[in-house]
């Protein structure tokens, strides 16, 4: 029993086609992926350590031949075959999911709980923006009963004027922040609107410091240096 001589790897598929010329001519060149064959041939050679320059030469020669065959076919205007079509299969119609009403468990309580979290983050990350650009409540919130409020506006104006006069003892200047100290936000906004009305009737004078953004309210005949007025 002589030892079986082991065939070199390149005489096994898929590389064998590069070494069997008689087969090569019968094959359709489009079915041969030269790049793949050569790459894997080199990889295999490296892996097995069977470095054989003669075999490499033959492989290269065969590849060139296959390449030539492809080029000839193209010159004869034979188009390469289109990529294989997917197998035909029955495509069923869409499956509509049955519709079921389902009550969900989220309640307004959950909404408010997460709102709490979100607003905390808002305070944490954007304090400067919040101060400089407060989101004002809508007018209907400030003046919930508009008609009634308008009817009473003159009365309210008188009341505010009286309060102001009392605070400055007849004539004088008071800061807006002092006036609204301790007030609810909505109340402060209402007061501000009333001040605008009073200013329109020239019962008070308003101006704002550009740097501190403080609003000053002058009641009665107070002489104000023009230079101090940056805005009214």
């Amino acid at each position: 029993m002589s030892a079986v001589i082991k065939k070199p790897f390149y005489l096994c598929p898929p590389w064998n086609i590069l070494f069997e010329f008689h087969k090569l001519e019968r094959l359709t060149p489009w079915n041969i992926n030269i790049a793949y064959l050569l790459r894997s041939f080199l990889e295999e050679m490296e892996k097995t350590g069977q470095v054989d320059f003669r075999a490499s030469g033959v492989a290269l020669d065969s590849s060139a031949l296959i390449y030539l065959m492809k080029s000839k076919l193209l010159l004869k205007l034979e188009e390469p075959p289109s990529p294989p079509k997917p197998p035909k299969d029955f495509i069923p119609p869409p499956l509509y999911l049955p519709l079921r009403h389902e009550l969900t468990s989220t309640t307004i309580k959950h909404l408010l709980e997460v709102l709490d979290d979100v607003l905390k983050t808002e305070k944490l990350f954007r304090p400067e923006r919040l101060v400089s650009k407060p989101v004002l409540p809508t007018p209907s919130e400030i003046l919930p009963q508009l008609d009634q409020y308008l009817m009473e506006i003159e009365l309210q104006m008188e009341k505010l004027h009286a309060v102001l006069s009392q605070k400055v003892k007849g004539t004088g200047i008071i800061q807006f922040s002092t006036l609204v100290k301790g007030m609810e936000r909505l109340e402060a906004i209402r007061t501000f609107i009333l001040l605008l009305f009073l200013a329109q009737y020239s019962r008070v004078h308003l101006w704002q410091d550009e740097n501190s953004e403080e609003i000053y309210i002058a009641i009665g005949e107070v002489s104000i240096a023009e230079s101090e007025r940056t805005a009214t």
Partner: protein, 198 residues
């Protein structure tokens, strides 16, 4: 001969009547289907579109017939007419407590819910502001909230203003009027904070 003719006429009439009844049955089923899957109040316009009719009168008659049927059936569900001719199919309140434990799925997961809460509280609020506050994930949240009709966006110049929808108000039992809704939210919210601080 005359008699045969009369009989034929009668048969014809009967089959026409039968067809009309069947049609009404089908339309009633459509109204019921709409109210069932919506799970929220629907107005006549929405019901008309399901019925593919423009006649509000027809739709009103149908939904009121269905209301009567529900009332007669005396089941777990009730069909109610709300303000502004809106109709809702819902579980009778007295049964809620007994089946509450079966309700497990939340409307939204935590992330999108937070984004929704923020939009509701600050609305109308620019998409940019929401993203700044809630991070870049909120793009996905906003998309989901829009798909679920909880939020709508409105282009205003170069930015998009977000606000909540009527469906949002219905779901949480809030007013459709935005200023009232915000006041309601604020009120409940402040009450909650107060009670937490105690």
């Amino acid at each position: 001969m005359q008699k045969a003719k009369e009989q034929l006429l009668k048969l014809d009439e009967n089959s026409k009547r039968k067809q009309a009844v069947e049609k009404t049955q089908k339309e009633l089923a459509l109204v019921e289907a709409a109210l069932y899957v919506a799970g929220r109040p629907l107005d006549l316009k929405e019901l008309c579109s399901v019925l593919k009719t423009r006649s509000k009168n027809k739709t009103r008659t149908l939904v009121r017939t269905l209301m009567k049927e529900y009332a007669n059936r005396n089941t777990a569900l009730e069909l109610l007419e709300l303000k502004d001719e809106r109709y809702v199919l819902q579980l009778k309140a007295e049964l809620t407590l007994h089946v509450k434990k079966l309700v497990k799925r939340p409307l939204l997961s935590m992330g999108p819910l937070k984004t929704l809460a923020y939009i509701a509280y600050r609305q109308p609020v620019s998409q940019k502001r929401v993203t700044e506050m809630r991070g870049h994930h909120s793009y996905g949240h906003i998309k989901q909230l829009k798909e679920m009709s909880l939020v709508i966006g409105e282009r205003k110049g170069r930015s998009t203003l977000l606000r909540t929808t009527g469906y949002f108000a219905d779901y949480f039992g809030l007013s459709h009027e935005r200023s009232i809704m915000k006041r309601q939210l604020k009120k409940v919210f402040e009450k909650k904070i107060m009670s937490n601080e105690k």
